[in-house]
């Protein structure tokens, strides 16, 4: 049996690899956009393929849980007692993917990645500060603001050189 730290390295390599695929995904989607002349249609193709892949994955991993109890009955129960915003996560994903398809060929891969990252960090701090969506509250502090300023300086360098 392998020890814990060698597993940690394997997990970290997997994370590094997964991260490397992310700008390739956006680049492929941008190529697709040039081929079909529309960022919306490129996004639609990407999301349709992703949906089919995820449904297959769910059938593979969760088939026992899915068919043990009556899934329709269970689905109705979840829908009736959940807030409406629980269902719109995918719409936000659509905005992100479509915007990136549009931006990457114009401002380059590095700038697209770092800008999204900065937006991500700023709003994450706000969500943490107010404890929105049921996340544990984590107040904003000097170090966190310093982190944002350092990121903005980084964006400035990447954009200007």
């Amino acid at each position: 049996m392998k020890n814990k730290s060698s597993y940690l390295i394997i997990y970290m390599l997997l994370g590094l690899f997964a991260g490397m695929l992310s700008p390739i995904q956006t680049s492929i989607n941008s190529e697709l956009r040039n081929a079909v002349h529309s960022p919306l249609v490129a996004s639609l193709v990407s999301f349709s393929v992703g949906t089919v892949a995820l449904i297959l994955l769910v059938l593979l991993i969760e088939h026992r849980r899915l068919f043990k109890t009556n899934p329709l009955e269970k689905g109705k129960r979840v829908i009736s007692k959940s807030p409406w915003w629980l269902w719109i996560g995918g719409v936000l994903g659509v905005i992100f993917v479509t915007a990136n398809i549009f931006l990457l060929p114009m401002i380059g891969a590095a700038l697209t990645v770092v800008l999204a990252l900065c937006g991500q960090m700023v709003i994450a701090l706000v969500i943490d500060h107010f404890g929105w969506f049921g996340v544990p509250k984590h107040s904003i502090n000097v170090q966190r603001i310093f982190g944002i300023i350092v990121m903005v300086a980084g964006i400035f360098l990447i954009q200007h050189f």
């Binding site: 994370g15 590094l16 997964a18 991260g19 490397m20 695929l21 992310s22 390739i24 995904q25 680049s27 492929i28 079909v36 249609v41 639609l44 193709v45 999301f47 393929v49 949906t51 892949a53 994955l57 769910v58 969760e62 629980l86 269902w87 996560g89 995918g90 719409v91 993917v97 915007a99 990457l104 060929p105 114009m106 380059g108 891969a109 697209t112 990645v113 770092v114 800008l115 999204a116 990252l117 937006g119 991500q120 709003i123 969500i127 929105w132 969506f133 502090n141 170090q143 966190r144 310093f146 982190g147 944002i148 350092v150 990121m151 300086a153 964006i155 360098l157 990447i158 200007h160 050189f161």
Partner: protein
């Protein structure tokens, strides 16, 4: 013009943590992050279909163009997106959120700089230089500080 593009990139990034927060709540409700991701993608696809029908006057001919496109371009984006998502779901409980963000981000930066440097995928060539590397370093320091405190 460039400032508008920069703002658009920033705002698009702002959607991500909201999406992650919503989807992890959904994951608790349906008791599986995979089912939550599938629902999220399905809703996204339906909304895109609707928006495309309304906003894209040449939708039928655009979709007709798909038959002449290489297979990797058709399925590549969707599959890589799902791979990225699934890896994050798997890694989060094993590496913790700070380490997961930093390693996937490092991978993103390495690949994004390579794409710009070599001009892969028809992106305009933008060679790697000292200030760009420092900029990437600052980004990683910023993320690390925010995650740590």
């Amino acid at each position: 013009m460039i400032i508008l593009l920069l703002i658009a990139g920033f705002i698009s990034g702002m959607t991500i943590p909201v999406q992650t927060s919503i989807n992890s709540r959904l994951g608790l409700q349906v008791k599986s992050p995979y089912i939550a991701s599938a629902i999220s993608f399905l809703v996204g696809t339906l909304v895109l279909l609707l928006v495309s029908l309304l906003a894209e006057p040449h939708l039928a001919s655009d979709i007709g163009l798909l038959s002449s496109i290489p297979w990797w371009m058709l399925i590549g984006g969707g599959f890589l997106g799902v791979f990225y998502l699934t890896s994050n779901i798997l890694l989060l409980p094993r590496l913790g959120s700070a380490l997961t963000v930093v390693v996937t981000l490092l991978g993103q930066m390495i690949m994004a700089l390579s794409i710009d440097h070599f001009g892969w995928f028809h992106v305009p060539v933008h060679e790697l230089n000292g200030p760009r590397l420092i900029g990437i370093g600052l980004m990683l320091v910023g993320v690390f500080v925010i995650k740590k405190y």
